[in-house]
């Protein structure tokens, strides 16, 4: 019998300090799980993995590496609780536990042929990063691609090197900051002015969002005014998660399980749920 709760031990091959509180971890790819599917994807952008260690617990985290990368996956964790505190205490060569990938991921087929606006904030960038990597690899299938990324301070912008690479690939990046320092020359907050910078065919555009706080600002101030309807906005939702496989009931929202039916939901669908 397959044991859905049993994680595998994987080696951390690289640790990158992304910000004063966020580190990303490159995990060696292991056999059995994370095999390429028929489209060559190791996971679907927007899916999550359970990362942790026996004795400390597990956290659901969205991989940020390219879904085509079959030698490793990368995750990023902000030092917040027990599990992430433990992850931050580790060094390259240490082993952690991994389960997954779980959940549905972004609706890649539905997104094909459309303009894409990815809105994210702070630590919500990893699944969006995986999605952008996917889009770049399949450029011919997508229209214009925008990434709106908000952070509290310039220090807290993660994956800066990746963002530079995406720019070279033609992805339009709009960074915004809540509290700028004196070197900051970009946007401050999700202001209405951002709309002028975004040129999309709103009737044929899809928005994806991840990260709770700044996300709602982006929704109200940018996505709605842009004219993207709720039905074409997809949100990666956050809930308390324990088992990740639809048993423990912690992540439920209305009739849905964030771990099984999500974490990506149509915004229209979320509105209908009572909790």
């Amino acid at each position: 019998m397959n044991n859905i709760y049993l994680p595998q031990l994987v080696k951390i091959t690289k640790i990158i300090e992304q910000s004063p509180t966020v580190k990303s971890f490159r995990l060696e790819k292991i056999g059995g799980r994370f095999e390429k599917d028929k489209d060559g994807l190791v996971f679907k952008p927007g899916q999550f993995v359970m990362v942790g260690q026996i004795g400390y617990g597990e956290s659901p985290l969205g991989p940020s590496s390219s879904p085509y990368e079959d030698k490793y996956i990368e995750i990023a964790a902000r030092k917040a609780g027990t599990v992430t505190g433990y992850l931050h205490s580790l060094k390259e060569g240490d082993k952690i536990t991994l389960r997954g990938p779980y959940g549905n991921g972004f609706p890649l087929d539905f997104m094909k042929g459309k303009d894409i606006v990815c809105a994210t904030g702070g630590c919500g960038i990893p699944p969006i990063a995986a999605l952008v990597e996917y889009i770049i690899k399949n450029k011919e299938n997508f229209g214009r691609v925008y990434v709106l990324y908000g952070a509290k301070t310039p220090d807290e912008i993660l994956m800066k090197d990746k963002i530079e690479e995406w720019k070279k690939e033609g992805v339009k990046i709009i960074l915004t900051i809540d509290k700028p320092d004196k070197n900051w020359k970009g946007q401050v907050g999700f202001v209405t002015d951002l709309i002028k910078e975004i040129d999309i065919d709103e009737a044929n555009a899809v928005a994806t969002m991840c990260g709770p706080g700044p996300m709602m600002g982006a929704l109200e101030k940018v996505l709605r005014p842009l004219g993207i309807s709720d039905r074409r906005i997809f949100v990666s939702m956050e809930r308390k998660m324990q088992c990740g496989v639809g048993k423990c009931q912690h992540c439920t929202t209305g009739k849905k399980y964030v771990c099984l039916d999500g974490p990506v939901f149509n915004y229209d669908e979320i509105e209908k749920n009572h909790d």
Binding site: G55, Y56, T82, G85, Y86, S89
Partner: protein, 263 residues
Amino acid sequence: MRLKKTMIDKNKKPRVAIYDFTDCEGCEVKLVSLRERLLALEKKIDIVNWRLGQERFESGPYDITIIEGTPIHHHEISLLKELRENSKILVALGACAALAGIPGIMPEKDRKVWYEKIYSSQYHPAGVDAVPLSAYVDVDFAIHGCPVDEDEVVRVFEELLAGKTPSYRGFSVCFDCKQAGNPCRIAEEKKPCLGPITQGGCKAVCVSGGSPCYGCFGIREEANIPSLVKILEKIADPKTVERYLTMFHNRTKEILELKDNEK
């Protein structure tokens, strides 16, 4: 009451001090009765000051200070404040330290009656009312119980030593009580009990032994106290209900708030 970001360094043996103020010392006896586990614990921590347990009294600063009992004399109060200054983590051990507990039952005006009876009116006590440690200083974590439960003590140390922030039990005594296979005092026996509003982790030893739960493990997070009071008042007279609520909680903010609301 949440532990601040003062987790201890996993890679260093923490310096631990164990102090006691006014109480019965029963919780410290519980520490001793950890037996083999105390020896295992001793390998992980350096107990540098413990009046009851050893002849080694090093001064601070300490990584972890465990305090049993509650201060009732101004010397004790200033010592407590000093210990707070000198400790990274301050842990209240047992109901007296965490809640004021039994010493907190009687306020000064009631004590006076007894002083006069026992020691005559010539006696001028220096003591003040017993209140929880948290009334004087920030308490990082409280290990509840009268006395504390050995497994809970070990759990808290395990969490601290693993660099975790110790967590309070989010469930009620009812979870322990069901596991012990007890009939429900309130629902089935129509007898008062504070189990539903009390933090679990105690293994329901009192109810299993035929006593009610008086709430020595502290009020559970977001407990519905007004509803329980209404339920209890249907099965017991108001004086009894009052006695239950004030056995350990006479000086806790939850019960003081409840009394304020009643007024």
